[in-house]
Symmetry: C2
Subunit: 407 residues, 2 copies
């Protein structure tokens, strides 16, 4: 019997009415003859509410205790969804991350999944149950609850789909697929029927958290097909898979798959650091230790013969950790001062086809410049060109680039 893994985010289970809708949707999948595993996030604002509660007690609460606290959100969702499924006459059972067999590396707040012992999940499936699993959480080697950090629930779903050799991992969101640009910014944006893993990785930041890069990477690694779709109706969404067959018309025409933007970034700058070997490894080694992901880096804008500034782009959510790390470096004599700037945004042109079309980069810079927007940093890969621009200009840049490449 084929296995389908379905993942529903927090807004899909935000209240009893929505939980019922998810239950009907999940039940239909079993009616169609699939064995069904459902991964759910915490209800709506539960996680934010719990974070606020903890902040009333401490500005810097222990990560272990935050994992203990936040993991209750998913545990509530799975119980409620199982109850709703029973009410529609389906056999269903909820499992926490621990019960579902997620073993993590034990890092609090940002754990990675090491492996899944799916024996309990398989047993419950074989007994005819719809298995409702808490996303975002797992068990550390020492028996503690750890959460998976950003993109955790998507990653839970993809990992379970891989472990169970599922036919498909369906990711239900409040948008109906992946678009050539954020439809809220660009009215003429089109929904993509398919997209490659690499393109999806680059587009991930587009829209309201459609799919976290981490889960896409995992799916790519094991060739798990993802289907990003809405829980509000039955339309097909966007299939994310390896593009092996290049005879599609889409590929021929679309050098550029989409224009993405990311307003959640900040630029950190360390001023007047010594221009000496090993600097980057010192700075970024320390940040890696703190699990801070660094995106673009600019090193080399000399301020004197032996001094330079060092800038990099990271997520705004890591601001506290970056401030701490850079503060300690400056206190230790590495650099004169530091600065965090969150008034910037990243705009990216993405497409697997651009590798053979060298003009894309030039056209991108031209479009942005023609709007009088200053490009602060540039980063390119085989399938993407990203520019850092002022946040206030980002929407304008996205619209112009979409018009130029996809209009």
């Amino acid at each position: 019997m084929s296995i389908v893994v379905m993942k529903f985010g927090g807004s899909s289970v935000a209240n009893p009415e929505r939980i019922r809708r998810v239950a009907r949707r999940v039940g239909e999948a079993q009616d169609e003859g699939h064995q069904v595993v459902v991964i759910v996030s915490a209800m709506g604002d539960t996680t934010d509410d719990l974070i606020m509660l903890s902040r009333e007690l401490s500005a810097r609460p222990s990560r272990r205790e935050m994992d203990m606290l936040l993991s209750t959100g998913e545990q509530q969702s799975i119980a409620l969804l199982a109850i709703a499924l029973h009410e529609y006459g389906y056999k269903a059972i909820s499992l926490t991350g621990l019960q579902a067999g997620y073993n993590t590396d034990g890092t609090y707040a940002v754990s990675r999944i090491c492996n899944i012992d799916s024996s309990r999940v398989r047993k419950e499936l074989d007994e005819g149950n719809i298995v409702v699993v808490a996303g975002f959480q797992g068990l550390s080697p020492n028996g503690d609850i750890t959460t998976l950090g950003r993109g955790g629930s998507d990653t839970s779903a993809v990992a379970m789909a891989i472990e169970l050799q599922a036919d498909m991992c369906e990711i239900y969101t409040d948008v109906d697929g992946v678009y050539t640009a954020d439809p809220r910014l660009v009215k003429s944006a089109l929904k993509l029927n398919t997209i490659s893993y690499d393109e999806m990785l680059e587009m991930a930041a587009m829209g309201a958290g459609v799919l976290h890069p981490r889960s896409v990477e995992l799916a790519k690694q094991y060739g798990m097909t993802l289907h990003v779709r809405t829980s509000f109706d039955h339309r097909l969404g966007t299939i994310v898979q390896e593009v092996t067959d290049m005879n599609g018309e889409l590929e021929k025409e679309m050098v550029v798959a989409g224009v993405a933007h990311d307003m959640s970034v900040l630029r950190a700058t360390l001023f007047n650091v010594p221009d000496q070997p090993g600097l980057a490894s010192t700075v970024f080694g320390r940040l890696a230790q703190d699990k801070v992901n660094v995106d673009m880096i600019i090193q080399g804008s000399k301020t004197s013969d032996d001094k330079q500034n060092l800038s990099f782009i990271s997520a705004r959510t890591d601001a506290d950790k970056i401030e701490q790390a850079l503060g300690e470096m400056v206190a230790g004599g590495l650099g004169e001062k530091f600065e965090l700037d969150d008034s910037i945004a990243k705009v990216s042109v993405v497409g697997a086809g651009m590798i053979s079309r060298p003009g894309v980069a030039a056209k991108t810079f031209e479009v942005i410049s023609s709007l009088g927007i200053n490009i602060d940093m540039i980063s390119t890969s085989e399938i993407k060109i990203s520019c850092i621009v002022p946040e206030a200009d980002a929407a304008k840049a996205v619209r112009a680039l979409h018009e130029a490449f996809l209009g």
Copy 2:
């Protein structure tokens, strides 16, 4: 080093301010040189809110899923209390029921604790931690979360105190001890400095859930001293222990320790059941299977030569289960019909001294009768006389009995 187990109920941790107060109180106990284990309930209305949420999805939600859902309440409290303790500079770690080693018999919603594997708790204590443990929950033999039902958190605390051979189990509530009657009903009620386990068992229903009989039974069985006190100030409360030394003045004077009442009972009646051997065992065997506790029973009010009515007193919270069980009995031909009446209350006169004073029962009935109140059922033990009266008359009866015996 001496070990103290402290238990705080839901109202003591209802909001961040109260959690901070509990943290200071707990920290003081460690400062005084004790190893401290804290058992906490879910914050304030959390459990009720979760029950309401589940009722929006199902009138009769699965007990397994309700345990999954409700156990999140305590998990949130322990994390928040640990965070508050850290903020005051204390080493502290939270543990779920599972992590703290509570193994239950696996019955959902009304589990009993089979044993506690306290190795993790001891390890954390030895590392200098205040160990914050989720009450009310444990692990079933098949790896599921089960809750302990009414009085569960008190029982969690007493069981842990016994397992750790603690010096004392302190139960913090929003009243400052055990009174000779509910002070809300009887202005002249007095706080008792000490009370025996047996008296406490009979008085348990007095006041706002001061201590659940189940936890008192467990404490009595192992001779664990309990201290019922308030978390609002440092006054001593009431010590519950075996009374071995009978030289106290209190004992000499006080034949009656207190007057208790219980407004949470119902009377169930099965009409016109066959008057034949084995009836009681059929009816109460079935109710026992459903884990319904039955208090008083009246069997024998004949309605014809071979028929009789059968009445018993139970908790109102078991109404659904009783309705189900009696309904099936009537459908199966056992009795003509059944009725549940929750307009009644139980009033009890309690005192270890009354065993040697036969006049107490007569005086009790006389006081109630003189108020023109009809006594529906009577039950006596060596240390208590209980009368079922109309709920509307219960407060009046309590005041009059307190005046007669303790005024």
